[in-house]
C-alpha cells in the first residue's frame, strides 16, 4: 500500500478545498471559478480513468498475455480486435464494422442473462410475493376464532355489498370514508381478538384477574405479531395488484376500477415519497461530507503560511479571470 508525502497531502487538501468552494460558488451564481472546477473535473477524471484502464485491464489482461508471455495467448487477440472494431464508428464509410462487435456483445449478454434474470428477478420476486397471508403457528381453531373470523368476513361482505349497490352514494365522501374506516377498524379488532382468544382459556383469564399470573400476557404480543405479519402481507398483496392494474389499460378505469387504479397511484406515491426521502438523505450526506472535509481536514490543520499562499493563488486567479472577462467584453463591443 502506498503512502503519500506530507507536502503532497497538504497540497491535495488545498486543491480539493479550493475546488469544493469553486463548485459551491455556483449556488450564488455562475462564475469563472466554477467553470475552472468543472473543466478540471472532466479533464482529470478522464485522464485518471484512462490510466486505470491501461494499468488494471489492458496491460495485464491483453498486452502481457499476447506479447510478453511464453507461450503467447493469441486467443486474446480476437476480443482485442473486436474491441478495436468498435472505434470504426468514427469513420462513416466503415462504421458498419462496429455492429459486428455490438451484435456479439448483445447476443452473448442476452444468452447469458436471460435464464439468470428469469430465475433471479422474475421467479424469485414472484415467489417472495406469493406467500401465505396467515402464519398458522399463531392460530388454533376453536369456537372463538371461528366466531370472530365469521364476524370479520361478514363485515367485509357487508361493505362489498354496500359499495356494489352504491346504496349510500348520497352519503358524500366523508361519511363513506368513516364507514370504510369503521369496517377496517372492526376487522383489525376482531383479528387481534380472534388470535388472542384462540389461545387464552377461561382459566387463564381467571388467573390473570384474580391471581395476577401474567405469564399468558405474551399471547397478546403474539397476536399483535400475527396481525402485523398478515397486515404487511395484505399491504404487499393490495399494492402489487393495484399498481399492476394501474398500468393495465385494456379496461376503462371507471366506477370501482377507478378506485383500484387510484389505490395503485397511492402505492406508487408512497414509494416515490420514500425514495425522495432517501434521496434527500443521500444528497445531505454528501454536503455533510464536504463540510466535514472543509472544517476538519482543511481549516483546522492549515497554517498561516499556507493561508497566505492559498489566498495569493486565489487573488492571482481572480485577477486573471477579470482581465479575461474585460478583454472578452471589449472584443464583443468591437
Amino acid at each position: 500500500m502506498s503512502a503519500y508525502a506530507p507536502w503532497a497531502t497538504t497540497l491535495g487538501i488545498w486543491i480539493a478545498a479550493g475546488i469544493t468552494l469553486a463548485v459551491y460558488s455556483f449556488l450564488y451564481k455562475d462564475n469563472p471559478f466554477y467553470k475552472l472546477a468543472e473543466h478540471l473535473y472532466i479533464g482529470v477524471s478522464t485522464g485518471y480513468l484512462l490510466v486505470i484502464a491501461w494499468q488494471d485491464a489492458i496491460y495485464p489482461q491483453f498486452i502481457v498475455p499476447v506479447f510478453f508471455q511464453s507461450p503467447p495467448v493469441y486467443m486474446i487477440l480476437l476480443p482485442g480486435i473486436m474491441g478495436l472494431m468498435m472505434y470504426t464508428r468514427f469513420f462513416k464509410k466503415v462504421s458498419w464494422i462496429s455492429r459486428i462487435s455490438l451484435a456479439f456483445v448483445i447476443g452473448w449478454t442476452s444468452g447469458v442473462a436471460a435464464p439468470v434474470v428469469i430465475q433471479g428477478s422474475l421467479i424469485r420476486h414472484m415467489g417472495s410475493t406469493i406467500i401465505p397471508l396467515f402464519r398458522l403457528e399463531f392460530f388454533s381453531l376453536n369456537i372463538w376464532s371461528i366466531l370472530f373470523g365469521i364476524l370479520a368476513l361478514g363485515f367485509w361482505a357487508a361493505l362489498l355489498y354496500l359499495v356494489q349497490k352504491d346504496k349510500y352514494a348520497d352519503w358524500g365522501t366523508g361519511r363513506r370514508a368513516i364507514l370504510v374506516s369503521g369496517v377496517i377498524l372492526f376487522t383489525i379488532l376482531f383479528f387481534v381478538a380472534a388470535v388472542f382468544f384462540s389461545r387464552v382459556t377461561v382459566g387463564d383469564v381467571y388467573n390473570y384477574i384474580f391471581r395476577g399470573d401474567r405469564s399468558k400476557l405474551d399471547l397478546f404480543n403474539k397476536s399483535v405479531d400475527a396481525f402485523m405479519s398478515t397486515f404487511y402481507l395484505l399491504v404487499i398483496l393490495v399494492g402489487v395488484i393495484t399498481v399492476l392494474f394501474y398500468f393495465f389499460y385494456s379496461i376503462e378505469h371507471k366506477k370501482i376500477l377507478k378506485g383500484v387504479a387510484k389505490t395503485g397511484i397511492i402505492f406508487q406515491m408512497l414509494f416515490f415519497g420514500a425514495a425522495f426521502g432517501y434521496t434527500v438523505m443521500g444528497r445531505v450526506s454528501l454536503a455533510i461530507g464536504r463540510m466535514r472535509f472543509l472544517i476538519i481536514d482543511w481549516i483546522k490543520p492549515s497554517t498561516g503560511f499556507q493561508w497566505i499562499i492559498g489566498l495569493g493563488v486565489f487573488a492571482v486567479l481572480a485577477v486573471l479571470f477579470l482581465l479575461q472577462d474585460r478583454s472578452r467584453r471589449s472584443s464583443e463591443t468591437e
Binding site: 502506498s2 485491464a57 495485464p60 452473448w108 447469458v112 443521500g282 463540510m291
Partner: protein, 281 residues
C-alpha cells in the same frame, strides 16, 4: 405575509442549510441511533464467520459518493479485521479501486497504532479494477485468480498467500458490496444465484429503496443504507465515527426541510385562497 414568503431568496435557504450542517459538526448533539434489522442482518452474518474466513469486499462506488459509503467501508473493514477475517477487495468501477486504496491505508495505519501490522497479501489484498460486468463475475465464480490475473499493483495474484486454495467465488464466505449504483444486481444474479455466495448491500441512500425487494426475496442478508445505516453499523461496533457524527447534521437538516415544505405548502394555500377570493369578487 405571502409577499414576504414569495420574496425569500433561494440563497437564504442554502445559507440556512449550511449553518444547519456546520453547527452540529462543531458542537455534536450525540443524538441516539436505533439499530434496524436490515443492518443487523449484515452485521450478524459477518460476526458469525470463523476467524481466517475470506470475505470479498466490492468497492463499486465513485469518489462522489465517498462521504456516504466510506464510513461503511471503514466500519466493515474494522469489523472483519478485528475478527481476523481475510479481506480481498475488488472493483468493477475504475474509480472504486482508489477508494479501496484509501480505506486500506486508513485501516492499516489504525491497526498499526494498536500494535497489529496488517500484512498486504496475507490479511488484506486489493485486486483493483476488473472490467466486464457479468462476464467478470461469471469468471470470478469459476476461476478467481485466472480472471483477476494481477492485483492493483500489478503483482501476480498466484503469489498472494491470501488467495492460496482459492478457486472460485465459493471460497469466499461472504460478499460485502459497497455500491452507489445498481451494480449489486449483477452480483445478485451472477454471484448469489449461480454460485450461492451470501451478499450484504452497503449502499447510498438513493439506492436503498430499490434493493428492499431483493432483501425480501432472500437474495441479501441485509442492507446498510446511507449515512443512517453506516451510523447503525458504527453503533454495533461501539464507536462514534463520521457517520454517527454526521447523523446530527442529518437530523437538523431533515427538520429544516420539513419546515421548508410546510412553509411552501402554507404559502401555496394562501395564494390559492387569495386567487379564489379575487375570482369571486
Amino acid at each position: 405575509m405571502l409577499k414576504f414568503l414569495s420574496r425569500i431568496d433561494r440563497r437564504v435557504i442554502y445559507l440556512l442549510m449550511a449553518v444547519a450542517i456546520i453547527i452540529p459538526i462543531l458542537v455534536p448533539l450525540n443524538l441516539p441511533v436505533q439499530i434496524t434489522k436490515e443492518v443487523r442482518g449484515v452485521y450478524d452474518e459477518i460476526d458469525r464467520l470463523p476467524a481466517g474466513s475470506r470475505i470479498l469486499v466490492v468497492f463499486d462506488y465513485e469518489p462522489a459518493s465517498q462521504p456516504e459509503v466510506e464510513p461503511m467501508a471503514i466500519a466493515v473493514m474494522r469489523h472483519c479485521l478485528s475478527k481476523n477475517l481475510k479481506v480481498v477487495a475488488i472493483s468493477y468501477l475504475q474509480l472504486g479501486r482508489g477508494n479501496a486504496e484509501i480505506v486500506f491505508n486508513m485501516i492499516q495505519k489504525e491497526f498499526e497504532k494498536k500494535g497489529r501490522i496488517l500484512k498486504y497479501g496475507e490479511d488484506i489484498a486489493n485486486m483493483g479494477f476488473k472490467p466486464g460486468y457479468s462476464a467478470m463475475i461469471l469468471g470470478l465464480g469459476k476461476d478467481f485468480k485466472g480472471t483477476c490475473v494481477t492485483d492493483y499493483m500489478g503483482k501476480d495474484v498466484y503469489s498472494l498467500p491470501i488467495l492460496k486454495d482459492v478457486e472460485g467465488l465459493n471460497d469466499f464466505k461472504y460478499l460485502a458490496c459497497l455500491h452507489d449504483d445498481s451494480s449489486i444486481s449483477y452480483w445478485i444474479l451472477y454471484a448469489y444465484e449461480i454460485v450461492g455466495i451470501k451478499i450484504g448491500s452497503f449502499c447510498t441512500a438513493v439506492m436503498a429503496p430499490g434493493i428492499y425487494a431483493n432483501l425480501d426475496a432472500g437474495q441479501l442478508t441485509g442492507i446498510v443504507g446511507g449515512l443512517k445505516g453506516a451510523s447503525e453499523y458504527e453503533k454495533l461496533l461501539n464507536y462514534r465515527g463520521s457517520a454517527t457524527i454526521g447523523m446530527d447534521s442529518q437530523t437538523i437538516i431533515h427538520m429544516l426541510i420539513v419546515i421548508f415544505i410546510l412553509i411552501g405548502n402554507f404559502s401555496y394555500l394562501l395564494k390559492e385562497r387569495r386567487l379564489k377570493k379575487e375570482q369571486f369578487l
